[in-house]
């Protein structure tokens, strides 16, 4: 394992020097809160499994499986992985690279590994179960690691192909949404975890083994799944190594970038705004529209929001009178904000990478630059919500001017607070992002952790508006509180902008350095 050891050593050195220069304050706080929550969940699972277990654990392991395999795809963040483009130049055996890549799948779902650990400790403490039942958890974990490599490689290759990227992702979302749709109906959930498929799924076989039901048969099923996942992942990994991403994403030389309707679309901001603001927003619109990653999250916010939240809102429990049923448009709109948030709010200089230095070199006040970024974020958010509303209308969903007004105003208020928080983070925690990589290499958990910490705070003002509507049964009260929120949001935004601009002047050297930073052999 000489080469694998060298790769890990190089990555460790890169990570160490990066954190020594940048500090780990924010990352540490977010991690403590986020993983603290999951440690608590693991403790709860430990309590569940350390006493006699009523019913099947199949549902728990199904959720673990879905979190491990589906959530990274839905959050477009699949965890750390090897940068094969760089490493292929060196004489490293494929087996070692594959082994490392399997290990790195741990980073895609540290949360559920904590939960499985809790379950394992519980099983060891359970007097009704034998200690070796824990073996099933270990095999289930390895199965997920292997499957994760195969799925990630397959999806990454599909998304690298220029012509089919968006279409492929649309199909992927449909597939990913399927379990979510099934989970909204208890009957479907039961079908997935028990009859009429008696125990051959990896999660039910794991549960059977853990609970001591037909252990030989369960072990054989788990072993078969493990072998299939191993073959699949190794096959996909080898295909990825041979894959020519540049050729797959190449454009025909005759293709035009600036034709017709698209060019008019790009010029919209400049028709409304004077320079330099117009130029800055137009640049952002051109740039983000062409970024595969941004296009993907834009599409995800739009399609996944509709596919997942509409059935929930309109499902068996989601009658027209439920909260989701009456506010589905706002819920889908806010969900799309979540997906757009990284590029639009938290790391608005990330896609510019080292080119962000132009903002410090050009004779433009930095507040204008930040406003340009913020206005382009609002432009895309408005576009996204407009498209969601249009499709809802075409699908015959209940849609009224009031619902539209609610959706746009709720999103606008939340966006104001998000921009205030995001401007601070974009300056203080900038991170170079590859606009051509459809998947983020950071773990989905990190994205969720930020949401976990910041979003509850950002939702408070809007929550108060909904509370006012509920308490006074009045739309006027709802919109009145929203108006007040908007006024407070504007003040908070202004204060945050001034502070961010001052910080940018102070931290510009560190910012440019952080945004110019290349990645190591492992992209994390």
């Amino acid at each position: 394992m000489n080469q694998a050891g060298a790769i890990l050593w190089a990555q460790w050195r890169i990570g160490r020097s990066f954190f020594m220069r940048r500090g780990i304050g924010w990352a540490a706080i977010v991690s403590v809160i986020w993983y603290g929550f999951w440690v608590a969940a693991a403790f709860a699972v430990m309590l569940l499994t350390s006493s006699p277990i009523a019913g099947s654990l199949g549902g728990v392991f199904l959720l673990v499986f879905l979190y491990w395999q589906v959530v990274p795809v839905l959050m477009a963040a699949t965890g750390a992985s090897l940068d094969l483009r760089k490493l292929q130049a060196y004489p490293i055996p494929v087996g070692q690279l594959f082994g490392l890549e399997v290990m790195l799948r741990v980073t895609a779902a540290i949360e559920v590994i904590l939960v499985l650990t809790g379950a394992g400790i519980g099983i060891l403490r359970n007097p009704m179960l034998r200690a070796w039942n824990v073996l099933a958890l270990l095999l289930f974990g390895i199965f997920n690691l292997l499957l994760g490599v195969g799925l990630r490689d397959t999806i990454a290759r599909i998304l690298a192909r220029r012509r089919i990227r968006e279409a492929a992702f649309f199909l992927l979302i449909l597939c990913a949404a399927l379990p979510r749709l099934l989970l909204t109906r208890r009957r479907s959930f039961i079908i997935m975890t028990s009859k009429p498929w008696p125990g051959w799924q990896p999660w039910t076989a794991t549960a059977d083994f853990v609970q001591g039901h037909g252990q030989l048969r369960s072990l054989a099923i788990i072993a078969a799944w493990l072998a299939a996942a191993g073959l699949f992942s190794y096959w996909q990994f080898r295909r990825t190594i041979r894959f020519d991403a540049e050729a797959a994403s190449a454009r025909p030389s005759s293709a035009s970038r600036t034709s017709g309707l698209l060019e008019r679309f790009f010029r919209i901001p400049s028709m409304l705004l004077g320079d330099p603001l117009g130029a800055l927003v137009e640049k952002e619109v051109r740039f983000l529209t062409r970024s595969p990653r941004f296009r993907m999250v834009f599409l995800m916010g739009f399609t996944f929001g509709l596919l997942v939240w509409l059935p929930v809102a309109m499902g068996r429990q989601g009658s027209a009178q439920s909260f989701l049923g009456t506010n589905y448009l706002s819920v889908v709109s806010v969900y799309s904000l979540v997906l757009l948030s990284e590029a639009c709010f938290w790391n608005s200089f990330g896609f510019d990478r080292s080119a962000a230095q132009i903002y410090f070199l050009a004779p433009v006040a930095f507040s204008r630059v930040m406003m340009g970024k913020n206005l382009s974020a609002l432009f895309f958010i408005g576009l996204e919500i407009g498209m969601i509303a249009l499709v809802c209308g075409l699908l015959g969903m209940p849609l009224s001017p009031l619902m539209l007004a609610e959706s746009f105003s709720v999103t606008a208020v939340i966006s104001t607070f998000l921009l205030a928080a995001g401007n601070q983070l974009s300056i203080r925690q900038p991170r170079a992002m590859n606009p051509t990589a459809s998947f983020r290499s950071g773990a989905a958990g990190r994205v969720q952790a930020i949401l976990f910490v910041v979003w509850p705070i950002v939702f408070v003002p809007v929550g108060l508006a909904y509370l006012a509507r509920y308490a006074f049964a009045s739309e006027a009260a709802f919109f009145g509180v929203l108006a007040l929120d908007a006024a407070i949001g504007a003040v908070v935004y202004k204060l945050s902008l001034d502070s961010a601009v001052a910080a940018a002047e102070r931290l510009k050297e560190q910012m440019v350095t952080a945004l110019s930073r290349g990645e190591g052999p492992i992209t994390a």
């Binding site: 454009r251 030389s253 970038r257 137009e282 051109r286 080292s354 080119a355 070199l361 433009v364 110019s516």
Partner: protein, 256 residues
């Protein structure tokens, strides 16, 4: 002849400039004066402090101590006024990969305050001048290294600056491209502009520059006209090697 050189204050005036990184001096007491209308070469071995100096001149890195005046104005106090008159070619990383060459140049023009129509027209003309018109609709991400340098230089020219700060502008550029870029830069100097460039290509510096400074370990070790610098040496390379004190290979390795 000269459009810009009526003002007699130096284009660049640096006094006792110092930049410390964790107590280590990247630039250590640099004092330098670059007259207007001069083609100035700033040389030094790797890690000598050239890029740090140019970053401080551009306002990207604040100096730990010392003063900078560009075109007679103090930096950073008059930062915006200075930036309006400067053309920059920091390095190729300045470019936005997901814009086409034409879009990037137009964007820079508008950022520098040109009217949209003027920026668009000049962008097209600059693409033609730098022989990039065939690639005008390609994304910068698809450009070769030399093409990226040409775009960066074209963008630096769009607002007709008085002073150019260029970090390795000829790096990775082929002979034809380099010739084109040299001609354009010489034309700018003839019109009174001042050019301050760093380069490792000593042959280029020797042919283009009126004055040269050599920096080593953060300190200025030599400065003067090309003739003064060469002194008794045949070439600039000999003078450079002598100035920075680097000898020939001192020892061999058994295994090599």
């Amino acid at each position: 002849m000269s459009d810009f050189s009526r003002d007699t204050t130096p284009a660049i005036e640096v006094r006792d400039l110092r930049k410390l990184y964790d107590q280590k001096a990247a630039v250590d007491g640099l004092t330098l004066s670059v007259p207007r209308g001069c083609f100035f070469g700033f040389l030094g071995p790797n890690g000598a402090g050239k890029t740090t100096t140019i970053k401080m001149l551009m306002g990207l890195a604040p100096p730990t101590s010392g003063s900078i005046r560009l075109l007679g104005l103090p930096m950073p106090e008059e930062g915006l006024a200075i930036k309006r008159q400067i053309g920059l070619v920091p390095d190729e990383s300045l470019l936005f990969d997901h814009l086409t060459g034409g879009e990037f140049i137009e964007f820079v023009g508008r950022i520098y305050g040109l009217e949209r129509a003027v920026a668009r027209e000049r962008s097209q003309e600059l693409l033609n001048l730098f022989e990039l018109d065939d690639a005008s609709r390609k994304l910068i991400a698809e450009y070769s290294k030399g093409m990226r340098k040409r775009v960066a230089m074209a963008a630096a020219l769009i607002h007709r600056p008085q002073l150019f700060l260029m970090d390795e502008p000829f790096e990775g550029v082929d002979a034809v491209g380099a010739r084109l870029m040299k001609d354009i830069l010489l034309e700018q100097v003839r019109h009174g502009a001042t050019i301050f460039l760093t380069s490792h290509v000593l042959e280029v510096v020797e042919r283009l520059c009126d004055r040269v400074a050599i920096i080593n370990e953060g300190k200025l070790v030599q400065e003067g006209s090309m003739e003064e610098l060469r002194g008794s040496s045949k070439t600039l390379e000999d003078a450079f090697v002598r100035a920075v004190g680097v000898g020939t290979m001192r020892e061999t390795l058994d295994w090599l």
